[in-house]
Assembly symmetry: C2
Homo-oligomer: 496 residues x 2
């Protein structure tokens, strides 16, 4: 007792649960309701990480607002008590963007998951940020519409998270990624004002702040509603699967299809290792004796789909496809996709943990960078499997490991960093669709000049001068809102 | 002599040409060369207006930099002497965006008109901002590529101006407007730093400042290079022309074509008046006894184009098209386009002046808004003709008048304001593709909330805290950089 009393107040509470009589917590409870402000250690530990391999998260109170007014109330209280805020959807992010640092308040959008309105004529819908991607597609299916971006996590990830990360997916080759499907965003700014960025028209007048918001990973404010574009279901769809003796042949087929003026709905490649793992897990009928499989989906009016399918098959055979399979019906189509969509589940049979990487390289340098990826993984004694959006050069090397093995995580991190450098050296890009988060924050200097980054920091400050919105993410050390230690008023240890 | 000496220095120079020994002008001359810094009244009068009906321009020195370093030098001198800057391409803008206010320095890009590099494999090119739109398409034609956005002014307008206004054109229905074709922009910021916004990848990591820059009308900096996306020439093209007894039938055809899942390359409508004027001028063979003509262009692989052309023809006939013409060859295609592309030239035979309006309305409300446009024009005793991008609801009412008639300009302005209000009341947008400039600046309040505009102003300030880049444009009075009088250190009268 005596010893504790000598410690400053915040020291005393180290490793204990924060007191609900903490005036900040009490104010949050008054603004929302007791059951929607969680401070217990278990709850906070649940939201201290995302689907990435990055740790270091330390959550403050976890709040569950249900209305724009409640989000405003939380944001204003955070401003009053000088706390950082992290919006959180389903926590499926792969770059650590939703990890709360240094006791930030976690603003969960799980209770804001409704479809607000649908305009089937103009193919638009207003949705709340916590709505799950696939639920949106299901909700508008009766109108013959769907929401086009389909991340592999679409059964779990939210529209708000998709906006934050400008998410892609297999069908984004022809359809475009999230930014092409978001017309407007309602946002509570870090000072509590509510702003609408963008508008009903795809090219609204004035400065287009919609574009800068999509992909900003929670650093500019908290999304409270999204106006999405809906896409008509295609009248006809065909799915084809090809097997090649070399990855080079598969990549050449991809290039030739696009050079022929055909833009498939999806163009996915998988290497031998991941194909075998998938086949053992999902039994989709994938060939296991080839070096690469290529999954091609074509959609549109029936006549066009038939003509393009014939052309794609011819091109693939010309480029050495020894295995050709054309889905005969919807059941077979679903089966072929089952293989691709279960790739990440399948690898758990190999090792318990994985790190899913994400870079983009010019299509013509795919093969060369893939070879570098295999070399790098081997040098670091890490198993690598490759599944990727071949059509746009978006690589997703899967580094597979067992975190319980001493040194495994460090080897994976080292290999990941070298893969980034190899991709950039080939004229590639830091991130395809998973965002920057904490994962790639300190690689931003490899990609942008200091002036470029400084200008990004200035624009961030125009939204969030006090650095309260997801600080410590995206912009690297040395730029504003990057230095967590300097940003938080919460003493280390209180929110363990 | 005695009288003049009593006047302050700047008073003495009223209505005379600024002295080249003015230290600011001398510094510009030292940084560039004497022939590339123009201060004579004629030269400055030439750049004091654009293609709009807005006056009030007053140019300071007109400079013609040739390199990024020279643009930097000009911008830094402007900062040192606290002068405003207006970048200027071809001056074909229709909203007054390039009009220099209060003696701003006019930075002409006409000497920065080169193609810097072409990457035909990845279909990209770096171009200087002063390159003319059509020159770019011609320069890459040998690669089977073209630059997709095709404003009606494409023979004169520049890529830099297209970026500033996020310009569209007839072929932007399927292809998308400028923002979809610009991957990166090199910009000299108002403090002289050089920044690259965006990157080779369509979805670069970090904050996407490319999106906010495209369409910012010179208010964020001066473009010195643009990375554009090039589009493969379509293997097949078909152009069809339909005539309808009512505008309603034409509009219903547009809706039905899009509902059928067909996205034509272009979908242009013209009313009876403009069709007659065009036919008398261009002799394109348009029918003159119909209420509306619809020009439809389809492109893509030959099989698809043929199938879609048959479908579009069937839909048009089902919706009452009494006149149907399918271009038999390229010569006939060119003739059909000649009518549409000469619409603005044709009307000079009716009256010497025109005001080309630009709003967007939801497609399903096209007919209703068109009827309102006719009523408004009649009430103000102004002739109106309509030519528009029907596919995306982008109206271009042409108000035709003779500026020499007393009160004509005022009546046109009054009608224009009512057309904006009618469009917005129908759920429309302030501007389709011509920008805000000075024309629609003070209508921005009808479209955006104060918080929305304030956030746009803050982002503008993150680029240009001193309000030196094209002040007085885009953002309405009451927001930063809107008040010209407070912004310029140039006393009224020096730069007449």
């Amino acid at each position: 007792m005596a010893v504790t009393r000598l410690l400053p107040a915040w020291r005393r509470s180290r490793r204990t649960e924060p007191d609900r009589s903490d005036p900040f917590v009490a104010a949050l409870v008054a603004a929302l309701s007791p059951d929607r402000v969680r401070v217990d250690a278990t709850e906070r530990r649940l939201v201290a990480h995302d689907a990435s391999i990055f740790g270091g998260g330390r959550a403050g109170p976890v709040v569950f607002p249900e209305t724009v007014a409640e989000v405003q109330a939380v944001v204003r209280l955070a401003a009053e008590y000088d706390r950082a805020l992290v919006p959180r959807g389903a926590g499926t992010g792969l770059a650590g963007g939703a990890i709360p640092l240094a006791g930030a308040v976690v603003v969960s959008t799980t209770r804001m998951n409704r479809l607000l309105s649908v305009d089937p004529v103009n193919r638009r819908a207003w949705v709340q940020p916590g709505m799950i991607n696939l639920d949106l597609t299901r909700a508008v299916a009766a109108h013959g519409l769907h929401y086009a971006p389909d991340p592999s996590s679409q059964q779990a990830c939210t529209i708000g998270g998709n906006v934050a990360n400008n998410s892609g997916g297999p069908h984004c080759l022809a359809a475009g990624v999230t930014s092409q499907h978001v017309l407007a965003v309602e946002v509570v700014l870090p000072d509590g004002r509510v702003v609408v960025l963008g508008g009903e028209d795809p090219e609204p007048p004035g400065l287009d702040l919609r574009g800068v918001y999509v992909g900003s990973e929670g650093t500019l404010g908290i999304t409270t509603a999204v106006l999405v574009r809906l896409t008509p279901d295609p009248p006809a769809v065909t799915t084809l699967l090809f097997g090649f003796d070399t990855v080079t042949d598969g990549a050449a087929t991809v290039g030739a299809v696009i050079a022929a003026g055909i833009v498939p709905a999806a163009l996915e490649m998988m290497d031998r290792r991941i194909t075998r793992a998938v086949e053992e897990f999902a039994h989709a009928g994938y060939p296991t004796d080839v070096e690469a499989v290529l999954l091609v989906e074509l959609d549109g009016p029936p006549g066009r789909v038939a003509a393009e399918a014939a052309a794609v098959e011819r091109i693939a055979r010309d480029h050495g496809a020894g295995y050709v399979r054309v889905a005969a019906d919807d059941a077979e189509r679903a089966l072929l996709w089952k293989g691709r969509k279960n790739a990440f589940g399948a690898i758990s049979r190999v090792k318990p943990d994985y790190y899913l990487h994400d870079t983009v390289v010019p299509r013509r340098r795919l093969v060369e960078v893939l070879e570098a990826v295999y070399r790098i993984a081997e040098a670091h004694d890490v198993i690598v499997m490759n599944v990727f959006h071949a059509g746009d050069g978006n690589l997703h090397p899967l580094l597979i490991y067992d975190a319980r093995e001493p040194g495994a995580v460090e080897r994976v991190h080292a290999a990941g960093a070298e893969i980034i450098e190899a991709s950039l050296a080939a004229g590639g890009v830091l991130s395809g669709e998973h965002g920057i988060g904490v994962e790639k924050r300190d690689f931003m200097n490899l990609f942008f000049s200091d002036v470029d980054l400084e200008q990004q920091a200035r624009v961030r400050s125009a939204f969030d001068p006090a650095c309260r919105a997801n600080p410590g993410k995206v912009l690297p050390a040395g730029h504003s809102c990057a230095d967590i230690a300097a940003l938080t008023a919460v003493p280390d240890g209180v929110w363990v």
